[in-house]
């Protein structure tokens, strides 16, 4: 493009200022992308939740248990296709910082309900026949370098005196959904139930209900809660996505926090870049007047200012996104599973670039309009 030389020559007029402005763009874009990745990690559970699944918990709260005896009653409710139950195990692998979610699963029904989690049949068969068997998600296995056949010891103090539970890793599951959770560790209900103290036997953490049709969700949820109303253990049934959202909210309103920080970043960047462009235009009043005098139209002048602003935004944005691509896997690994997997998707990169272009255009608009409205005669008089 024949005007590119003029645009780039003006950009490099004040190199230090250019570097600082591009730098602030890069840092802001890095922060923006990082926050978007964290927000996405928290909301992924909600997005990927099965539309045809309900979660049944104790009305008193998630940490309270529900009788195993509810299983048959739930299964009998019209519209229910399958039911499985889970318990939180809460063991420690080697060190407390090596946190990962461990669930006691109902191996008879787990695969019928959690259909997106795929395990090779031979591995599943080994697991079913192995009382101390365990299944790990692919990400979790990769994190600790586990392979099928490994012996995994987990220390546990939730169910009686601290003791070490030994497991055999019989299989590794993968999630069919891109970005779906592969960080869980599953152990058998039967092994768990026969090992824990008798006073807490026969109690599950929650049920997951698979429906015949997602359209039945409201009716079935109501039917389940009605079934156990006025009992010693009342239930609270909600869709899996509502359950996931509520679970994420227990950590605080992450979304609001992230949106607030993102908003501050946006406006700060807008002010910084807008100020830079305004100073840049003011310094060149005479030159812009000359361009207009020799025949460059008002629209051309606006285009020049916007183009400069957009080039700054794009260079800074690309650097920031590049930094995010490098840093996010490192940060994700350092978090040791405390946060859901951090994934920087192509959509987020596009959104980041779009954000950069938006800020670039917005920050160049006012100075550009000022330059556009500049009267040649007045500007030349000031030179």
């Amino acid at each position: 493009m024949k005007y590119s030389r003029l645009i780039f020559a003006n950009l490099f007029r004040k190199k230090v200022r250019l570097i600082l402005t591009v730098g602030s763009f890069a840092v802001a874009l890095f922060l923006f992308t990082f926050l978007a990745v964290v927000k996405s990690a928290f909301s992924r559970g909600t997005e990927l939740a099965g539309a045809d699944r309900l979660v049944v918990i104790n009305r008193a709260g998630l940490i309270q248990t529900i009788p195993l005896a509810y299983y048959d009653k739930i299964l009998r409710i019209p519209g229910v296709k399958a039911v499985t139950h889970n318990n939180w195990f809460g063991g420690v692998y080697q060190d407390e910082k090596n946190f990962f979610p461990q669930f006691v699963i109902d191996m008879d029904n787990q695969r019928q309900v959690m259909t997106e989690m795929k395990i090779p049949d031979d591995q599943w068969k080994t697991f079913v026949n192995d009382r101390q068997g365990a299944i790990a998600g692919a990400t979790l296995a990769k994190r600790f370098g586990w392979k099928v056949g490994d012996r995994i010891p987990l220390k546990n103090a939730l169910y009686g005196p601290t003791s070490t539970w030994e497991f055999n890793l019989d299989g590794i599951y993968k999630n069919d959904h891109p970005g779906g959770d592969e960080s869980q560790f599953w152990l058998q209900w039967k092994y768990f139930d026969e090992t824990i103290p008798s006073v807490i036997k026969g109690l599950v953490g929650w049920y997951v209900v698979k429906l015949d049709s997602p359209d039945d969700a409201v009716r079935v949820a109501k039917a389940i809660d009605t079934e156990f109303a006025n009992s010693s253990t009342e239930t609270k049934t909600e869709t899996e996505s509502a359950f996931q959202a509520g679970f994420a909210k227990q950590l605080g309103n992450i979304e609001l926090l992230i949106l607030t920080i993102g908003g501050v970043v946006f406006f700060t960047l807008l002010l910084v870049t807008g100020n830079t462009m305004a100073i840049s235009v003011r310094e060149r009043t005479g030159e812009l007047a000359v361009l207009k005098a020799i025949g460059f139209t008002d629209r051309f002048v606006l285009f020049f200012v916007l183009a400069e602003s957009l080039v700054i935004a794009l260079i800074g944005g690309l650097i920031g996104l590049g930094l995010a691509m490098l840093a996010i896997p490192v940060v994700g690994a350092a978090l040791n599973g405390f946060l859901p997997t951090l994934i920087l998707s192509a959509a987020m990169l596009s959104a980041g670039l779009g954000f950069a272009v938006l800020v670039g255009a917005a920050s160049g608009l006012l100075p550009g309009l000022g330059a556009m409205r500049l009267r040649v005669v007045d500007a030349l008089r000031r030179v």
Partner: protein
């Protein structure tokens, strides 16, 4: 033939009829130009002199389509410019006017070549055609060997030569010079004026120039004085400019 009585025929290249220019300053109306007439033919070289505030630069701005008169008309090469829209006027300037400013007003981050090329970016010329035109313009002003120099690497006289090259590169209908030697020492001023003489004599350019310097004005075919917004013919230069040389 330059006339200020408004009686010339319609064949003049530049034809100004009864223009007024009034400014408002603090609620007070200031009339800078009053019913001014002017006729300039192709190849004429006219100098405007007058005290500060007499309206010289205002007249130049009106002739160059940078400003519009409060009343009256300006016709250049058959185009009545007084009623053109701002956008049309901008396109008209690109085609018809070459500007030479006192302070050169070059873009400091562009080389001499790139500065001269600027008006050609608005044309449909190819890159190689633009290069040819720029090299020719820089050769005319004697800076063929400085085309890759930035303005800061040039003397004041050389910068003004680049400005002249930029003004002539698109072969405009006429050139407007606002104190072209005002920021130069006498030697450089003489060199610039010799170049302007050459543009008139050798290339038959039409030039309208504002100056405070009587020696510079003396090189024009005609010097007109502006006094209280009215043009007065002060007389023609002693000798007409000879083709290809100074007076």
């Amino acid at each position: 033939m330059i006339r200020v009585d408004g009686r010339s025929d319609s064949s003049s290249l530049i034809r100004v009829r009864g223009i007024n220019k009034t400014y408002s300053r603090g609620g007070e109306k200031i009339q800078v130009l009053q019913g001014l007439n002017l006729d300039v033919d192709k190849g004429d070289f006219v100098a405007f002199m007058g005290p500060s505030g007499s309206g010289k630069t205002t007249l130049l701005n009106l002739l160059g389509g940078l400003d519009v008169p409060s009343a009256g008309s300006i016709t250049v090469d058959g185009d009545e410019i007084t009623h053109m829209s701002a956008s049309k006027l901008t396109h008209w300037r690109a085609r018809h006017v070459g500007f030479i400013f006192q302070m050169y007003n070059l873009i400091p981050v562009l080389t001499a070549f790139q500065n001269v090329e600027l008006p050609l970016l608005l044309t449909k010329l190819s890159k190689s055609e633009r290069r040819k035109h720029v090299e020719t313009a820089l050769a005319v002003v004697g800076l063929a060997d400085r085309m890759n120099h930035y303005p800061r690497q040039l003397s004041g006289g050389q910068e003004q030569r680049v400005t002249i090259a930029r003004a002539i590169v698109s072969d405009p209908t006429f050139l407007l010079c606002d104190e072209p030697t005002g920021d130069l020492d006498r030697k450089s001023a003489d060199e610039i004026m010799a170049l302007i003489d050459e543009l008139v004599g050798k290339y038959n350019k039409t030039i309208l120039m504002v100056t405070h310097d009587a020696l510079v004005a003396a090189r024009a075919h005609t010097t007109l004085h502006l006094d209280k917004g009215v043009l007065i013919e002060a007389g023609k230069s002693a000798q007409p400019v000879l083709a290809g040389g100074a007076a």
